[in-house]
Amino acid sequence: MWKYIVKRILMLIPVMLGTILIVFFIMDRSEVDPAKVILGDAATEETVAELREELGLNDPFFVRYGRYVLDLVQGDMGESYTYRTPVSDQILARLPNTLLLASTAVLLSVVIGIPLGVVAAKKQYSAFDNISMVVCLFGSAAPTFWLGLVLVLLFSQMIPIFPASSMGRGFWGVLRSLVLPSFTIAISSIATVARTTRASMLEVIRQDYVDTARAKGTPESKITSRHMLRNALIPVITSVGLNFGVLLGGSVLTETVFAWPGIGRYVIEAIKTQDIPSVLGCVVALSIMFTVVNLLVDILYAFADPRIKAQYKQGRKKR
């Protein structure tokens, strides 16, 4: 198991190198000249050329790429053109906010989605099942930015109980301002989690071991939690893990709509101001988060299903 985890962490290195290469390449192909961005429109040709030389922008592509990666390993993501401060500081200041938003959304999708799916499956074809699944279909179909605006309209304009934008102060302030943005990104994943849970529960409900459990005289509530849900959870974990990635991406939109001081809003700002080191830094940070979450999901599998754990162990034996 540990060997597997270490192996997976080592695998992150080529994945990250590849991601950085692609983003670096795209930024390089853009028409933006960093020297011009830094110096502004008033700069003369000479000063621009001087700065280009100083920044090493005239070096070949792979030299610059190698330099960026080497700096990155030492925690240096370059300096933001707009803020004139290290990008890593900017990201570190905003990362907790994005993580807070995304993990609240994940928590919501698990806490609401799973019970919803379980009840819908246990009462298949009932009114509850039909209505909740139609609502879920709507939830996963509705676009995030639209949902965000509708929620603001409803709960901030018509019934002003939650703030429409920015992050509040203090525990309660943060919590209050967290409600609308987190629900905005969570709704589609609540719907996905509920639908996955329902489908997976329906599969499990028909299994023979459920009858075995009933034949032992196990109470129905225990059958649901211990025998059905634990088996049904594996596809749900996948769905939650994949959703985390979607949430991180979705946070770009939501953070803009709600003026949430996170990485998502930072990256949009950086793109607008052609702040290349910031854009690169954000993409790198987001992709590290995404791959780490994927790793966590794979480790969680092992705890949910002993057969998968056994596979990891077998892999070790073969070596």
Partner: protein
Amino acid sequence: MAFLDIKDLQVDYVTEDGVVHALNGVDLEVMEGETLGLVGETGAGKTTLAKCIMGLLPQRTGRIRSGEIYYDGKDLLKMSLKEMQKIRGAHIAMIFQDPMTSLNPVLTVGDQIAEAVQNHENCKRDEAMKRAEEMLELVGIPAERAGDYPHQFSGGMKQRVVIAIALACNPKFLIADEPTTALDVTIQAQVLEMMQDLKRKFHTSMLLITHDLGVVAQNCDRVAVIYAGEVVEYGGIFDVFKGMRHPYTKGLFSSIPQIQNEVTRLAPIPGMMPDPMDLPEGCKFCTRCQHATQRCREEHPQLVQVGEGHWARCFLCEQEGKVKE
């Protein structure tokens, strides 16, 4: 006084294609300490009967049209779910057909046995685990393996675990639904022998469902032959095996090749079991019976006593004895 008494049990499955008549008036009695064999083809209603006794018919499709199942003087079919949960496992336990799918893959076998104990006995988890380990030893699996998961066991061992679960609370009545069908022949013999031993040890009555007449001959005191959801013949093992009366039972026996004769082709009963959605009006077997007359097609035969405790549902036996009312 019968230990388990099934009276006129009729069960349907309501499906989108129509109503499947799975059981059509089954009467059976199981005496204390005896093993009753239930023999029949696939689809005859054997598993439906077992699930009906346990109260495990599929909720959405299964429908009990009529009938009573008396256990210890009480009708199981009238019990609430709570009462039924007290009976299941503690009084009546069931061994399922396919050991590959009847164990929960994410729980250790020890946990699964201990759960049965904890459901019925007010005891702590480690006491229940200790009991689970004892049960494993009893069915011939080392106690250390209690912490292993089902996928780490072979088919025969899984079936032993299933048996250990069923016997964990000393049930008085055991339903074994084709317990050896999924196992190969050598393991079959071991498992059956073990079940017999345990049955003797715990004085358990048993309903052994199978389509293997050899298994019945070795393990049962009495046997009931079921066809299209109806008992067509039942009696003591010796009476039925030596003096079978119903044409279907005869067909079953003559389709087994005899070791002393040279056989090049098997002699199956011609035709197929009737469609359970559209059963014949008269005798259910009339479509395949070589003795069938016009009367068989129109009138439904009753069980006729053809010997001491030996009954057959056929007009051919009508003159011999009294009709069961």
